[in-house]
Symmetry: C3
Subunit: 256 residues, 3 copies
């Protein structure tokens, strides 16, 4: 498996620049807990979010968007139907989409639904170790992750103390981030939305996924330096993402 190119931080900075210039539309089907924070993270990074799940219009919104996020954080019937419609529209229009199978380790029907969606060609899957185990039935060692990514022809972004970003052949380990990120609800959901935004401006899904997670991690470290606790951290990470410049990004990215 190839190590990441030494210029991944520069590539990340390029992608963030394109986000701010092009202002891609990102349609998000996500849970009610995460909607507001996710929208604000996308806006801070330069993207334009929309969030409708209404059956009459979700396909139209997706067709006019540049990327799609499907987050399973609330597994209600309405969102399930919206997800299927949205993914269908994205497939037909060749719009990249990201799956975030939140909490599938806690709910078998949700895990089964996630496995169905994996068959519909997400460009990336952002999840944690417990969710990967529920999805793929195995351990989250680099080899297992790469095999799964190869089998499903997708990119896996597995977040934790170290983030792993893999496709069939490439692996990046990102050591950025801060423990306070786990103390703010919807932080992972917002990270997945940022993966979708990056896919809107970057063809290489492995680069896009790594860029989003590097940006979140570096912003998280900056935010932690300014925060007193998780309340101010949630505010500061949005500001940090908004203000993140190339020099800071390159100086602080820890990727190998």
């Amino acid at each position: 498996m190839r190590a990441p190119p030494s210029d991944l931080p520069q590539i990340t900075a390029d992608i963030l620049e394109r986000l701010r210039e092009r202002r891609p539309r990102v349609h998000c089907i996500t849970n009610a807990v995460a909607q507001n924070f996710t929208a604000n993270v996308l806006l801070a990074a330069g993207a334009v979010p929309s969030m409708t799940i209404a059956p009459k219009e979700v396909a139209t919104f997706v067709r006019r968007a540049d990327a799609l996020l499907v987050n399973l954080g609330t597994f209600d019937t309405e969102r399930q139907k919206a997800s299927v419609k949205a993914i269908g529209a994205a497939g037909a229009a060749r719009i990249p989409w990201v799956l975030d199978p939140v909490f599938i380790d806690r709910s078998k029907p949700r895990a089964a639904f996630a496995r169905t969606l994996i068959g519909k060609a997400p460009r990336a899957v952002r999840l944690n170790a417990a969710e990967f185990a529920a999805l793929a039935g195995g351990k989250h060692e680099a080899e297992a992750l790469a095999r799964y990514a190869a089998a499903k022809n997708t990119v896996i972004g597995l977040t934790g103390e170290t983030d792993f970003v893999l496709d069939a052949k490439r692996l990046a380990k990102i050591s950025n981030g801060h423990p306070l990120m786990a103390k703010v609800t919807a932080m992972g959901c917002a990270g997945s939305a940022l993966v979708a935004a990056c896919l809107a401006v970057e063809q290489d899904a492995w680069h896009a996924t790594a860029a989003a997670l590097i940006a979140m991690g570096v912003a998280g470290e900056i935010a932690a330096g300014r925060a007193r606790g998780p309340g101010s951290f949630a505010v500061e990470i949005v500001d940090a993402l908004y203000g993140l410049d190339r020099a800071t990004l390159v100086a602080n990215a820890r990727v190998n």
Copy 2:
């Protein structure tokens, strides 16, 4: 078309004072992305929000409220039904209501629904230029806006770099505000809710609409002076609205 009275900032300060004294109840049918921020903006200004969309009780909540907001930000069946019930109850009880036709430029069924609701006598419509084009089919020049306001017997509050507030005969141009307002989700939605709150304490709907947009704009400028990015801006604008006093308002309002 008449220019605004030179005492519009003073009138705005009067309205904000009445909001804090009378604490009107504002019922909001709004999208899930906007609910929390909208409720906090209303509370900061002195109003008391409620947000239920349940069919069994929405009419009761509206009848006991002093104003109603109908925001189309998520066009789900449940909210559509709640909107129709709520507007019916508001009409019967002569409670003023505001329409915010979010994103109708992106969805034809949503635009059609908005056009139906316009027939049900909203006291004000708060929207942006793209939404006005989708609603009225034309340009958003002052004359077109005034004609539309006259035809529908309502007040138009069109927000953008400059905000335009029009009824059939009067026009106010408000130059307050800050670009960070477009970087926080639900800022427009919260502004519309504040229009509803002002309608609860001010008979003249043109005054009420202008007052809400002046207050948001001035608070936005104060917030921008204290914020590092859109995360802290969203916090600071709530604080600024809460603390906005007559002298600051009058000194900073830019209306012509």
Copy 3:
């Protein structure tokens, strides 16, 4: 009626310590306005929130949780069904649950539903004076509260300028808190969620309820000292709860 033990602040500190150590899972059926803030308050205190209301999985989430919150803030059909399923699962698995009958004073069907749920043995009910009147049909004097708590075999946590925590025999009056707490939406909802979290680590429901309200009140006072208005207050109270240590808690708790 017995006065509270003089070591209630120490007991509160013990409970908060156990929350941080054990990280109990708290499943919340709560309104969309409150979900994000509630989740962040729980995370700040050390608990792990989940929020699904989907019929297929809500019982499973509850069975794997350590406590349950049922908040009636949005009385939609989906949440009503989820509440009944969740409470059934909690009862079968002997998981403690809390009822927060939000705004039942504004809606008769909601009040009727709350009265049904009271029959299903909540370990605690957190509400305000108007909600208590709608629930119990009487005044909220200490004797009436105690009689109601005895009749329903539950603990009543009635919040207001002074908070009252009662079971059949014990009464604690908590004088902590700050007026800004009423200026942030979902503050009461989040307090109820914290009651549920405390029930997960404390057998004595009266201790657990008092602990949650003391912690919220002391955190609110710390936050008020750092905040400029309700926007920053909402951020600071999360930080304050996260950082609350035994010495500060004991020095600031005002209970009699």
